[in-house]
Each structure stands twice: as C-alpha cells, then as structure tokens.
Amino acid sequence: MRKIKVIIDGQGINCLEGQTILEVTKENGIDIPALCYHSDLKIKANCRMCLVEIKGRKGLHASCSTKAEPGMEIITESAKINRARKINLELIFAQHCEECDDCIWDFNCQLLKLAKKYGVDKTRFPNRKKGYPVYQFGPSIIFDSSKCIDCRNCVDVCHQQGVDFLKIKEKGHLFQVVPTKNEKKDCIYCGQCIVHCPVGAFEAVGEFEDVEKPLQDKDKTVVFQFAPAIRTSIGEEFGLPQGSIITEQLVAGIKKLGVDKVFDTSVGADFTTIEEANELAEKLEKETTPCFTSCCPSWVKFIEFYEPEFIPNLATTRSPQVILGGLIKTYWAGKENIDPKKITVVSIMPCVAKKYEIKKKELEIDGIKPVDYVLTTRELAYLFKKNKIDLAKISPQKIDEPLGIPSGAGVIYGASGGVVESALRTAYEKITKTELSNVEFKQVRGAKRIKKAVININGKSVKIAVVNGIGNAKKILEELKENPKLYDAVEVMACFGGCIGGGGQPVPVDKEIRQKRADGLYKIDNKEEIRLAHHNPIIKKVYNEFLNSKEIIHSICHTSYSPKEREVKI
C-alpha cells in the first residue's frame, strides 16, 4: 500500500493509504475516545464519539469511518469536538443503568473516564432503560440489557461466530438487543459478547456474587487448577505488561486464599494430548478421519446443537480441566487417602463455557463431578483484589506436586494451534517410532482465523486445519460436507486467538493483546526441557500406576456426545 502523509494536531505523520484516521491515531499514541469501535469487528460508526475536525470540510467526522487522505489536516481536540463528545456521552449515559461496583470494566471503565474528562452530567436525562430485562444464558452468561448502549458489538460478534443468538428487536420507536426466541438457535456460551461489550452489559454468571463460594466449604480439601492461558493474561488485572508470565505469582496468590493444593491444568492437557493423539493415529489408520478436537466446550456445544451429523468426528477425549479434576478425585485422592466426596476442585478458566461443561452428567465418575466450580480469570482477579492480594507484588511460589509440572506442549494449549501442535508432537513419535528433531509446528501458530498445513508422517500426508472463531469453523464444515477427506485433523477454538482470547479473560482485549498473551505461552514452551506430553514423567507414572486399563482410561479420560435441544430459556 502507498505511503501517505497527514497532519494530525499540527504534527506530520506518515501512514498508509486506506487506513482510517482512528487507526492512524491509535498507531501513533494519539488518544481518541471510541466506544463502538473494536478492531475485531466491522466499522459501524454509531456511537459518534471518535469525532475529529478536518480542515476544509464542514462538520465533525467520525474518525473510525473516515479514511486518511494525503495532506489531510486533522484536529483531534477542540472546543467544538469536546462539546459534541460531552453531549453524546450524556445521551449515552441516559441509556446505561450504571452498576459500577459490579462491573467487569472496574477501574478500566471508558465511560467513567470520559465522563470525568468531558465534565459530563451523568444524570442530565432520566435513564430510559430502567427496568429493562436481565437475561441468563445457561450457566455461563448474564446479559443486563439496562446497561446496553445499543452499540451492537455483541450482535456483530455473535454473528461473526455464526451463531446469531443475539439480535436486534424493534420495540416501539426504538430497538433492543435481545436473545432470540428461535428454537433452532442457541447460545454456545463462548462469551465473546462479554469481552466485546464496551460497557459491561454482559458478565459471567456469578461473576461478582459467587466468587467466594468455593472457599466456604470448611470441611473440604480445596484444590485449585488453572488453565494454560491464565498465566500470561491475569497480570493485566494488576497493571503488569500484557503477556507477562506470572505462573508462580499466580500459585502464590491462590495459596494465599487458603487453598490446600494448586495444580496445573496444563498437566491435564498432557493427558488430553496422549488420548487425542491416540484417537488421531487410530482414525488415520482406519481412514476414518477427520478427527475434531474437543477441548473447547463452545465448539462441542455448537456441533451437538447445530451440526450433530459431525458428532462422530469429535474426539471423545475429555478436556484438560475435566481429566485433571477426575484424576484429582481418583488417583490423587487415593494417594493422599482422602474421600473424593471431601474434595472441592476449582478450575480457573479463561472461559465461561467451562462453567457449562462441568455441569454435564456424562462426565461424572461414579456419581462424582470431576470439577465443582469454574472461576474465570476475571473472577479470580476480583477474588484476589477482594482479599488484597496483588500479583504484581507477591513473591513467587512453586506449584504443588505431583500434578503441577506440565510439558511445554501442555502450556501452548492456550493459543490457537496449540492443541494440534501438541497432538502432532506425540502422534508423530508414536506413529513413526522415531524422535522428532524439531518439535515446533509453526505453520499452525498465529492469529490467522483459518490456518492450513500438510504434515508428512511416515510418508503419509496429514492434512490439518486450525480454526479460531466458530464462524470460520462453519466454513471448514461446509468444505467437509462437500469433501469429507479434505482434512484429517481439525482444531477448533470458539474464541478469537484461542483461549488467550476467551470470554473469561481480562478486558480490554484485541488482536495485539491476544498476540502478546500467546507469545508468552510459546516463550514458556521454548524454555521447557520437556516439550512433548508423552515425555512428561508424571504422565508416564500415572499411566503406569493408575490409567492402566481400557475401562479406567475410558472413565477418566473419555466422554460421549449427543444431539442437543435448545437449553437457554428466555
């Protein structure tokens, strides 16, 4: 693209032709307020906050929808701009019932920051959304429509996910964002609406009310596990740079809450890798591919509800948190001589769909749930803050044995491509019976929404598709309907970038932030001595001592799927 020069606030700035003014200002650290803008979404230009003046043109212009042109002279702050932003903000406040104590934006709230900056009278108009309904989507998401500012980011992102569960309903002279009543549609609980809402109208179920619940069972042994993606994202809640690796600070923080044991879900991921690699190897041998990953509960729900014909393609391997939870209540409970009924397993997940996953009946082992509670990254951060635990200041602490030390493969599960890469590392060695000289499969990494690769294993070409975002997964499914042999292995994560961009993760989030979180995970893997799941000593040990029969492996590590009816009730 051609380089051009514009003048912003008197300063000459180089940019590319085709960039919007807002993109140019963002790149150059010039702050322009924007509420409905999100780099993941199409430009809508409806909040009318990102206003600028352009020399020689009448009126104010939305910088998100105006392209920079050669020689354009742009002003980003003036009395006129400030006045317009102030009034539009007052109009926005009048449709947003604040509940600032319980809001995922917490001290990051853009609305409050802008209100202060522009001297907004928040109560200039009576709030027109008083009494608007609150909806609950399964065990995962709460949508308080009285906080909604009608920017439609949630509707757009839900559409991008190919789900269209959220929609606009014309009501009287105005519209409302509502969940659809169409029985052929259902929420898949990905929570992308939560992290794309600029004003906190969406949150996890129990996000603020229930965080202490798991710690209240006094007579129980409380065991926490945390997902791969948490260690490079939770730091953001404590002012640390994006992508900071704080695994051991996280352990220390959890211990300070009075938790008995802290394990790592990445160890569970190593088990998932072994089982999924077996399934892939078997399907390749029997020529019954494609094999779909199954650790993302939103993806599983999507298949069960929208595309049940693909159920046979889903790996039956359970997700990492469920396998580890199961092992804690069986293998570890036996070692420690604790009654599994007296153990509370709490998973810290980047995800709100994981709250749904743990409620599945088919995961119970002899009537016992592998995991009792799921708290999101945000919820754990809130719990830390409530207990005055600051991860930026805490001294690191080692994680507990025996289920605390993962391979590098278990850690990269948190980024799109990580599951397939881990499975390939193990499947390759299993099938070829030779050691991998280079364990990195860089073709499947990165932020691209659809990544394709062909890997040669034992003279056989294994065709791989790695997808993040369900809307893109739908495209792959359509291709497979045409040609079932197009791919052998398909990894799908519902959230953009994989779990590092999950619906339970800190806000704000965008492509750059996701990249930094992912980079952190790959950095950890790169430094690990053991980078293949089946090389991990604890994995070998557990298979030797405990997971040594088909039946026991099945009950701890595998599950089944069935077509689903709509679950969300409105």
Partner: protein, 324 residues
C-alpha cells in the same frame, strides 16, 4: 443516443430531484465508467415525507416518461438491470401500469413499506437486500459500490422524467412542486425551477391573504419561512406548505414532526436515536428547554451518521427562532 446523453445531462445542468441535488450527469458518468461485471439502476419512488407527493403525481400522469428515463439508463450503462423502488401504496396503485410498460425489460418492481429513510439512498439498498433499513458508511458511494456491492445508479422518479425529456430535447428547466396546507388550490405543479416561492404561490393562486408562515422543502424536514422570506426558490424536495398563524398550535406542529422522526429514524447512531427521543420527551410536556435543545441540535447537526439525522434540526430551529 446513449453516447451523448451524459453530455446532454451536463449541458442542461440537471440536478437530482430526490432532495440532495447531486449533478445527474456526473452521477451517470461515474456509474458508467465504474469497472464491474454487473451494475444496477434504481428508480426511487419511496417518497416518505408527509406533504411531498410529486413522485406519485408523476407516476400517475407520466409513467411512460419515467420508464423511458430508466430505459435510457439501461442503454447507457452496460450489464445493468433496474429496480423501481415503490412505496407500498404507489406499488398497489401503479403496479399494473408499470408492469405493462416494463414488459420484456430488465426492470423489476420492488414493494416496500415506504419510509422516510429511503431518502438516504443506501437504505434503499439495505431494503432490497433484505437487511435492516439503515444507512451505510460512505465512501464507497453508490456509483462505486451500491446494491449488492455493485456500481449503482440511483435516481428519483422525477429525475428520470426529466432525463426522458432531455433525451427528446424537450427539457425546459422545470420542477414539480407539492403545494399544500391552508389554501384553495392544493396539488402538484410543474413550474420553472428558479421561481421564487412567492411567484409560485401567486401563479397557483395560493398566496394567502391571512397572517401566515410556510414550511418549505419537506413536509417535516422543511424550513419555516416568514412572508418576508419568500423571495427565494424552494430547496430540497420542493414542497410548500402554508400555515395560518392563528390556527396553528406550534407545539402540536413540533410534536407531529418529532413523532415522525421518532417513528421513522433508524436508531443507528446516538445523536439521532437518543437526541430525537429526548426532544420528544420534553415536547410531550409542552415545554422547550432552549439550552438543552441547542445542545441536541448541535450534536444532531454535527455528528449524525447520515444527512437525515442532520436534517432533523432544520424545522425546529427555524420555528423556535422565528415564531416563538
């Protein structure tokens, strides 16, 4: 003929008659020169504002000229097909006549529940594409990317009428005026485009003898003018509505306007959705809060997404200034 029609449109300085007044020749040239496999032509007969009824008059009296104008467009612009976008009642009324005239031509009729919004051309695309009716970001402009993302020529019914006239060298720089309100001779009149409002009212024997004011342009979005301000042509949609000052309740009038905007705006952008709502909230109490109104007018005018939002201000500001 197709070779020089664009030159003729330019020569005659024909401006679009949908309200915005964009030079027709230039628009045609842009669509013609756009590179694309497929192009569309739309004749907009949505006529959504109260007291504007000249397109209906033209469809009633000169449908063959409108279709002739569309035919010229089809010949001029390669790989094109056309829609006549009709308000619901116009569709019912003129369907059979238009079907007869467009037989064997690539011209389809499209029925839509009218709508003020269709004055914003990109909402017409949304309607035909079966999407929520709201304007799109411009650029790209319709000649670049319009209906189904193809280069699109969208002109008002009256524009096509005049184009047919220009092609036959019969164009006399006239316009159609919708004249209504407190008067004897309501109706649509074809008169020279540069005539002043006063001239038009006198010519049609509608110049009031009572104490009056008028609204000029659109029946809702038009500006309020006093008797001393009539020495100017009428702009926009060229409606002229006469009011008797003694018989007119200003609040009722303003409430009628704001309710129209409330019902007919698309609610996409903050100033138009929330601003219009707040004005109506205050007017309902038969009150005016000048500072607040000024603030809302300011953001409507300066920050609305489309020109219709910007236009909301015109009637209120002029009425408040001149009559209250």
């Amino acid at each position: 003929m197709s070779k020089d029609i664009i030159a003729k449109l330019k020569e005659n300085e024909l401006l679009g008659r949908g309200g915005a007044g964009f030079p027709a020749g230039l628009k045609w040239e842009m669509v013609k020169s756009a590179k694309a496999e497929k192009k569309y032509i739309i004749c907009n007969c949505s006529e959504g504002e109260p007291e504007v009824f000249k397109d209906g008059f033209i469809l009633e009296n000169y449908p063959e000229l409108v279709v002739e104008g569309i035919k010229i467009a089809l010949e001029t612009i390669g790989n094109s097909s056309a829609y006549i976008y009709l308000r619901k009642d116009y569709y019912e009324k003129f369907k059979s006549k238009l079907e007869e005239l467009t037989k064997n031509l690539p011209i389809a009729l499209f029925k839509k529940t009218g709508g003020y919004l269709s004055g914003e051309e990109t909402t017409v695309f949304a309607a035909i594409e079966n999407k929520r009716q709201e304007p799109r970001i411009k650029p790209p402009f319709p000649p670049q990317k319009g209906l189904f993302k193809c280069p699109t020529l969208i002109n008002n019914a009256e524009t096509f009428y005049h184009i047919a006239k220009i092609a036959k060298d019969e164009y006399k720089k006239t316009c159609f005026y919708s004249i209504s309100g407190e008067m004897e001779n309501k109706g649509v009149y074809e008169l020279p485009e540069d005539w002043s409002i006063e001239q038009i009212l006198k010519e049609t024997k509608n110049f009031p003898e009572f104490d009056f004011f008028i609204q000029a342009g659109g029946g809702v979005s038009g500006e309020i003018l006093l008797p001393s301000e009539l020495d100017q042509p009428v702009k926009g949609l060229r409606a002229i509505i006469v009011f008797d000052r003694k018989k007119t309740d200003y609040f009722d009038l303003m409430k009628k306007w704001i309710n129209f905007f409330l019902e007919n705006n698309c609610d996409k952008c903050v100033p138009c959705r929330e601003g219009v709502y707040r004005i109506s909230e205050i007017l309902e109490k038969n009150k005016i809060d000048k500072q607040l109104f000024n603030d809302i007018f300011f953001v409507l005018e300066e920050t609305s997404f489309c020109s219709l939002g910007k236009g909301v201000v015109v009637p209120f500001r002029s009425l408040i200034k001149k009559l209250l």
